[in-house]
């Protein structure tokens, strides 16, 4: 069972959360070239190791936030607000 640290509610059971995927992809401006849109919509680094990802505390405070989690061990290394850089994250 993952114990996910919500920045607002503290550590909570994974059942309260919904996964939101890679947190490093950034929505381009509407007039950005097709290649940038392709990368945003479809391409992922899919790292084996630390992964910055979005989670939604859907059965809690309903905030979106960021988690740094190791995809090989499932260890959660850090969590924080969606609009701030995570400690220890590279991208």
């Amino acid at each position: 069972m993952l114990l996910i640290p919500c920045p607002w509610c503290g550590p909570r059971n994974q059942l309260e959360f919904t996964y939101g995927g890679d947190a490093t992809v950034k929505r381009p401006l509407p007039d950005a070239p097709m290649k940038t849109w392709l990368e945003f919509v479809y391409l992922r680094d899919n790292p084996r190791g630390p992964h910055q990802e979005l989670w939604h505390h859907s059965a809690g405070c309903r905030q979106w936030f960021k988690v740094l989690r190791d995809t090989q061990t499932h260890d959660i290394l850090a969590s924080g607000r969606a609009d701030e850089a995570l400690p220890g994250a590279t991208a």
Binding site: M1, L2, Q14, L15, Y19, G21, D22, M34, K35, L38, E39, V41, Y42, L43, R44, D45, N46, R48, H51, E53, R69, T71, Q72, T73, H74
Partner: protein
């Protein structure tokens, strides 16, 4: 040696002490005409068909661990071709046809069992979608049959078909030729047959780097040294993104963990494969007697071959809702495998934008049933340097060109397919 009733009898007389090894374990050569990364069913099948259909002779399969230790040996073994969209329907039907004669082809019993795959229908809308899919299948020459609730209740007495059921059953779409195949036997059978054609199957050899010069493949760095080749095929399932990154490529793929589990073995209680799309659950009974079941992903990126309890609880609760009598059984084992989830739920069997580099991957939940066709078409693409009509749609470029093959209509969320 050819396996037959005679070889069995002869070896019985010597207490089965003199069976020859099924394949060699050679040291890697300095150079191969083609190298396949990944010794699961797909990689071994690719090498086999390269040698058999295209007369390439100097081929190696490099496996970082042991043969079939990846998803090939971890899946729930369901094979079927009950797809709606044309590229998927033709591709998986080609695969099912290859399954039907694979034991003879490989001289190895892969235990293909056409016990049928039944998709339960739980609502009138589900019924419309299911009949539409069945009609599409029949137009594509694939067997499909719609069963009413009463027909299903008579056939599968321990399935709760009562109107009070938590997920009421309105009927089901059956593919009679669907069924199961013994998973390990697929890896072993292809390895043995490829080895007999001279393919070097090399275990404990991890590819750690891909050498490229002026846009063309030069060879691979491995834990057993550098090996030269100009033709490199990637067949590493959940590790597709990791290995493609060695060639500087980003893929429309995320790796996720999928779990499966078996009950303690019991006498025959279920003689077909029952699946439910609405609750996302599938179950069959292995020849050993275990009930083999699975459901959803754990729903977060993962390269760990294990998952967490919530996904298991969902599978078990779906099982008990459909088959209340199975509540008396104990779960014996659970495990996980890494799925290569694409952004449209369909695979990529194609040339990549590096000269000499191809891949077959992006299998999502269902690549075991694709094994023979994937190997056959990947081999064709490597040997001819162009795709066959059956895999022409499964390109990497389709994502840029708007040619997605999204069977479920789920959109670009890898874990939603």
């Amino acid at each position: 040696m050819r396996y037959s009733i005679f070889s069995l009898a002869r070896n019985a007389l010597s207490y089965h002490e003199h069976w020859p090894l099924a394949w060699r374990s050679p040291a890697p050569k300095a150079r191969y005409d083609a190298i396949i990364i990944g010794g699961g069913g797909h990689g071994l099948a690719t090498a086999y068909y390269l040698a058999k259909e295209h007369a390439l002779s100097n081929i190696a399969v490099l496996e970082k661990s042991w043969l079939g230790g990846g998803n090939t040996g971890r899946n729930t073994t369901i094979v079927r071709s009950n797809y709606h969209l044309d590229p998927n329907a033709h591709f998986y039907e080609f695969s099912l046809k290859l399954w039907e004669s694979l034991s003879q082809e490989l001289n190895f019993n892969v235990m293909y069992s056409a016990r049928g795959v039944l998709n339960l229908v739980h609502s009138p809308a589900d019924m419309d979608a299911s009949i539409r899919r069945g009609n599409a299948m029949r137009l594509n020459g694939i067997d499909a049959k719609f069963l009413t609730r009463d027909e299903i209740a008579r056939w599968i007495p321990n399935l709760d078909c009562s109107p009070e059921a938590r997920f009421p059953i309105h009927g089901g779409l059956l593919q009679p030729r669907g069924g199961t195949v013994r998973h390990d036997a697929v890896a072993w059978g292809y390895a043995r047959a490829a080895d007999a054609l001279g393919v070097d199957v090399i275990q404990q050899c991890e590819v750690t780097g891909i050498r490229i010069d002026r846009g063309a493949i030069q060879g691979v760095e491995t834990t057993q040294g550098f090996i030269t080749t100009t033709k490199l095929g990637i067949a590493v399932a959940g590790h597709s993104g990791h290995v493609a990154a060695m060639a500087g490529l980003r893929l429309p793929i995320e790796s996720h963990v999928l779990q499966a589990m078996v009950s303690e073995p019991v006498k025959p209680v279920l003689n077909t494969v029952v699946t439910s799309g609405a609750v996302h659950f599938y179950i069959s009974q292995s020849d050993k007697g275990e009930l083999v079941m699975g459901g959803d992903l754990d729903f977060y990126n993962s390269y760990a071959q294990r998952g967490n309890l919530p996904a298991i609880e969902l599978v078990v609760s779906a099982c008990l809702a459909l088959f209340p009598s199975f509540g008396r059984l104990k779960l014996m084992r659970t495990w996980g495998g890494i799925m290569d989830m694409t952004m449209d739920g369909s695979p990529i069997i194609a040339k990549l934008p590096v000269k000499g580099l191809t891949m077959s991957g992006g299998w999502c939940y269902g690549g075991f049933k694709a094994t023979p066709a994937s190997g056959w078409l990947h081999a064709y693409t490597i040997a001819r340097d162009e795709p066959h009509p059956l895999n022409a749609a499964f390109t990497l470029e389709r994502f840029a060109e708007g040619g997605m093959i999204d069977e479920k209509g789920a959109g670009p969320y890898a874990w939603a397919h």
